[in-house]
C-alpha cells in the first residue's frame, strides 16, 4: 500500500453522503415520485381545514390549527417518507442496486439510511413550510412543549422509514408498491387522528386506534403543540412510538430483502 492511499479511507458519513447525493439526483428525475412527495402533503391540509371546521373541537379543547398542523405533518410522513421510500427501496432492489452496494464498504444500515436521506430531508423542509403556513394562515402559535414535538417527529421519521423498508420486502415491483403502501396509509389517515381526532371518536374505537403506529406520533405532535399533554400520556405515547419503531427496525434487520426473488 503506498503512502498516498493511507488516510483516504471512507467514513460512514462520507459514504452515506455519496449515496444520498445520487438519490437526490434520482428523485429529481422521477417526476411522479417527486410530485407525490412534494405536493400531496402540502395540498391535503387545505382540504382538511373545512372538515375540521365542521367538527365540535371546542368541546374537545382543540382548535382548527392544532388539528390541521399535526395532521399535515402526519401526511408528510406518510407520503414524503413512507410511500416515497417504499418505491425507492423496491426500485433499487429490483435494479440490483442494493445487492451491488452490499459488495462494497457501506454497511447495511448505511445503505438504507443513505437512500432514505433525500426523502427525509424533503419531509423536514416540508414540515417547516407547513408549520410556517399554519402559523400565518391558521394563527397557530409556537409549540408549547417542543420537548414532546421534536422526539415525536424524529420517532415518526425513523418509524416511517423502517416501515417503508418492511413494506418494500412485501412488494415485488414498484407497481405493486402502490398497492402494498395503501393499508398503512389508509389506516393511519383514518385511525391515527389525522382526519378525525381520537378525542371525537367513540371511546371503544379510540382505544383501538391509540395503539396504531402513527397515533402515538400524532399525539406527541398535537399534545406538544398545544401543551395539553399530561406527562403520563406523553410517556405512554413515547413508549408506544418507541416500541413500534423498535419492532419495525427489528423486522427490517430480520426480513429485509436485498435481492429480487429468484
Amino acid at each position: 500500500m503506498s503512502a498516498g492511499t493511507i488516510g483516504r479511507g471512507t467514513t460512514p458519513a462520507g459514504r452515506m453522503a455519496a449515496l444520498a447525493r445520487a438519490e437526490v439526483t434520482l428523485l429529481g428525475r422521477s417526476k411522479g415520485t417527486l410530485f407525490a412527495a412534494m405536493f400531496v402533503p402540502l395540498a391535503l391540509p387545505f382540504s382538511m381545514r373545512s372538515a375540521a371546521q365542521e367538527m365540535d373541537l371546542r368541546g374537545a379543547g382543540l382548535s382548527v390549527g392544532t388539528v390541521v398542523l399535526p395532521a399535515a405533518l402526519g401526511v408528510s410522513l406518510l407520503f414524503a417518507v413512507y410511500a416515497t421510500l417504499v418505491g425507492v427501496f423496491v426500485a433499487r432492489r429490483e435494479e440490483l442496486v442494493l445487492k451491488r452496494l452490499r459488495t462494497g464498504e457501506l454497511r447495511d444500515v448505511e445503505i438504507l439510511a443513505g437512500s432514505a436521506l433525500p426523502a427525509v430531508a424533503t419531509a423536514v423542509v416540508q414540515s417547516a413550510v407547513l408549520a410556517a403556513g399554519c402559523a400565518v394562515l391558521l394563527d397557530v402559535h409556537a409549540p408549547r412543549a417542543a420537548y414532546y414535538v421534536v422526539p415525536g417527529y424524529l420517532l415518526g421519521v425513523v418509524m416511517c422509514a423502517a416501515l417503508a423498508a418492511v413494506t418494500a420486502s412485501w412488494s415485488r415491483s414498484t407497481e405493486s408498491a402502490q398497492v402494498t403502501t395503501m393499508p398503512f396509509i389508509l389506516l393511519s389517515l383514518t385511525g391515527s387522528g389525522l382526519v378525525v381526532p381520537l378525542e371525537v371518536m367513540p371511546d371503544r374505537l379510540a382505544s383501538v386506534c391509540e395503539v396504531l403506529p402513527l397515533t402515538s406520533v400524532i399525539t406527541l405532535l398535537r399534545g406538544g403543540w398545544n401543551g395539553s399533554l399530561t406527562a403520563g400520556d406523553a410517556l405512554t405515547a413515547l413508549v408506544t412510538a418507541l416500541a413500534w419503531t423498535a419492532a419495525a427496525v427489528f423486522a427490517v434487520r430480520r426480513w429485509f430483502r436485498w435481492e429480487p426473488r429468484r
Binding site: G4, T5, R8, G9, T10, G14, R15, A17, A18, L19, R21, A22, T25, L26, R29, S30, A91, R92, E95, L96, V97, K99, R100, L101, R102, T103, G104, E105, L106, R107, R262
Partner: protein, 321 residues
C-alpha cells in the same frame, strides 16, 4: 498479518450453499487462490459458479464449510475485507436514470483510496460515455462500467463474475488485457466464466465446477493432460477396423466407429499416430479427414460433463431398479 494471508489470499474449505427451497447449489468445494494469481471457476450455467462467488464476496452466509478472504470471514468481518476487494457482479446493479459519471462518482465516495473516477472510465474505454444514462448503455458497456467500479479502489483481490459475457470479440480481448495487466501488477483475480478459451488464456489455475462440485482443478495444462488425446480418420474403401494394427499395441484406450469414421482415444498420442500412419503408408492408402489432436480444455470440460451425466444416469437407473 500471518503467513497464510501472504500465501493464500482466498481459502475455501468444504463450502456449501443451500437456497431457501432446499436446492443445494454448492456441495462441498475446497480450493485456494494464491496472492497474485488469476484463478478461474469454469462451468456451465447452473454449475454453481455465481453461488460460490457470492459466498466469497460475503453476500451470503454459507450453509456449511469455511471461506477466508485475506484471512477474514467475508460475511461476518465485512469491514476488514471490503476495503481491499473489488467486485463485479454478474449483472449490473446501477440505477437506470443516473449517468455513467454520476454512478462512478457515487461509487467513488464509498471506496477507500478511490482513484479519480475519470481514470477508470478511461481505462475501460467509457470516457466518451460519461454523460450517458446507464439505461442507454449497451450490455457490453454496462459490463465495462461494472469493471471500472470494481477497479476504483485498486483492490488487492478482484472478483469478476462472468466479466466478458455480452462483450463483442474486441471488448473481450480488451478485458483480457486489462486482467493480465492487473495480475502483472500483483492483483489477485478470481473470475468465473463459461468461455473455455477465456479460462485457458487467462487463468494460472482453474477449477471446473459441475453440479456444485469441483470436477477437476489445476493449471490449464494439468487439467488438460488428465484427458486423452484424439485421432480420427475415414477408413479407406474396402478396409475394416480389424485391418488396423492391434489397437492396444498402439496405446489406444478406446475406439468407436461411426459409419466409415474411426475415432481413437489415447494418452500416447505420438505412438498411436505413428502406428496408424505407418500402417497407412505400408498399405498404400490415404486416410481422408485425418484429424490428430492433443486434449484441449474443451475436451476436458466436455469429458467431465459427459462422465458426470453418465454417473447421474447410472444412479438414476440404480434407483429405478
Amino acid at each position: 498479518m500471518n503467513a497464510n494471508e501472504h500465501d493464500h489470499v482466498i481459502e475455501v474449505t468444504d463450502l456449501r450453499r443451500v437456497y431457501g427451497g432446499g436446492f443445494e447449489a454448492v456441495r462441498g468445494i475446497t480450493f485456494h487462490v494464491k496472492r497474485g494469481e488469476v484463478f478461474a471457476l469454469l462451468g456451465t450455467n447452473g454449475a454453481g459458479k455465481t453461488s460460490t462467488v457470492e459466498l466469497l464476496e460475503g453476500l451470503a452466509r454459507p450453509a456449511g464449510g469455511r471461506v477466508r478472504v485475506l484471512g477474514h470471514d467475508p460475511f461476518t468481518d465485512r469491514a476488514a475485507v471490503r476495503p481491499r476487494t473489488g467486485v463485479m457482479l454478474q449483472e449490473g446493479g446501477f440505477p437506470a436514470e443516473l449517468t455513467v459519471a454520476e454512478t462512478a462518482r457515487m461509487w467513488a465516495g464509498c471506496v477507500s483510496g478511490a482513484r479519480p473516477y475519470a481514470d477508470v472510465l478511461d481505462l475501460v474505454g467509457l470516457a466518451g460515455k460519461a454523460g450517458v444514462r446507464v439505461k442507454q448503455l449497451s450490455g457490453g458497456e454496462r459490463r465495462r462500467l461494472d469493471l471500472a467500479l470494481a477497479l476504483l479502489g485498486d483492490p488487492e483481490v478482484l472478483f469478476l463474475d462472468e466479466p466478458t459475457t455480452g462483450l463483442d470479440a474486441e471488448g473481450r480481448r480488451d478485458t483480457w488485457e486489462l486482467v493480465r495487466a492487473l495480475r502483472d501488477a500483483g492483483t489477485t483475480v478470481l473470475l468465473t466464466t463459461h468461455y473455455l478459451e477465456e479460462a485457458e488464456g487467462l487463468a494460472d489455475r482453474l477449477a471446473i465446477l459441475h453440479e456444485g462440485r469441483i470436477a477437476a482443478s489445476g493449471t490449464p495444462a494439468e487439467v488438460t493432460a488428465a484427458q486423452p488425446a484424439r485421432i480420427s480418420f475415414e477408413l479407406p474403401e474396402g478396409y475394416f477396423v480389424g485391418d488396423l494394427p492391434p489397437l492396444d499395441t498402439l496405446g489406444v484406450l478406446t475406439h468407436e466407429v461411426d459409419g466409415r469414421v474411426v475415432r481413437l482415444r489415447t494418452r500416447e498420442l505420438q505412438r498411436a499416430a505413428t502406428g496408424v500412419l505407418v500402417w497407412a503408408e505400408r498399405a498404400g492408402v490415404e486416410l481422408r479427414r485425418l484429424d490428430v489432436r492433443s486434449a484441449s480444455l474443451e475436451e476436458a470440460f466436455l469429458g467431465i460433463a459427459r462422465e458426470a451425466s453418465a454417473e447421474a444416469d447410472a444412479r438414476g437407473e440404480a434407483v429405478a431398479a
